[in-house]
Symmetry: C2
Subunit: 119 residues, 2 copies
Amino acid sequence: MACNQIETEEYKKEMKAIQDSMDVLNGKWKIAIIKSICLYNQRRFSDILNDVVGISNKMLSKELKELETNKLIERTVLNTQPVTVLYELTKHGLTLQTIIKDLTDWGFRHREEIIGKSL
Amino acid sequence: MACNQIETEEYKKEMKAIQDSMDVLNGKWKIAIIKSICLYNQRRFSDILNDVVGISNKMLSKELKELETNKLIERTVLNTQPVTVLYELTKHGLTLQTIIKDLTDWGFRHREEIIGKSL
DNA sequence: CTGAATCCTCGGCGATACTG
DNA sequence: CAGTATCGCCGAGGATTCAG
């Protein structure tokens, strides 16, 4: 119900907003990385590298940079020997949780719908 | 809060579920197409082609097929001259509305957070 | 009108090696 | 440990043309 609305101006704005969201979340790894950090609140580079099965260090490095640019995570360098780098979600990053939860729920329902059985 | 949970089995399932969702929604066009159909409940090929700015017919055709495979939309061919083809959301397709709304809202907030002002 | 077919480009992503 | 550098594949997606 009520997903129709004729206001085209509003419609265009919404489309842009969605594209913004998708750009941030797109790609093969972003959400997996966020989940990894989220799971432990704080996580090191190599920890995430282990958590996110299949990712290469190059990709991880790139994705982390993008997430930081988008102010979703924060990078902290510790003066240990050798260096330790911690990543954690920002306040803004934490607001993604609703979406992530919805995506999870819908994913389960979708699988049932398509394959006819759950995980 | 409470996005951490130690159960790794559950964690893996959730990751798969999210990947399922993202696979369905990924790419440059899927959500825009869904929104277009949704806006009018029923929409023809060339209508969507106009709604979704920038998409090529090849892409539209491909995306529509995928959406149909995923049982999100339904294709109806009318015996007109020339042929008319209608696309509409299925019940399952309509369940995406929550996610789409969340993505829209978050997109707005994100823009404020990053650029410092709204659309 | 609704696509399918073809050709081409560009960037995402992987593999491996190297650095402070 | 936490990345960078380099090479290269492959598929997403654009432009154009053809077909029923």
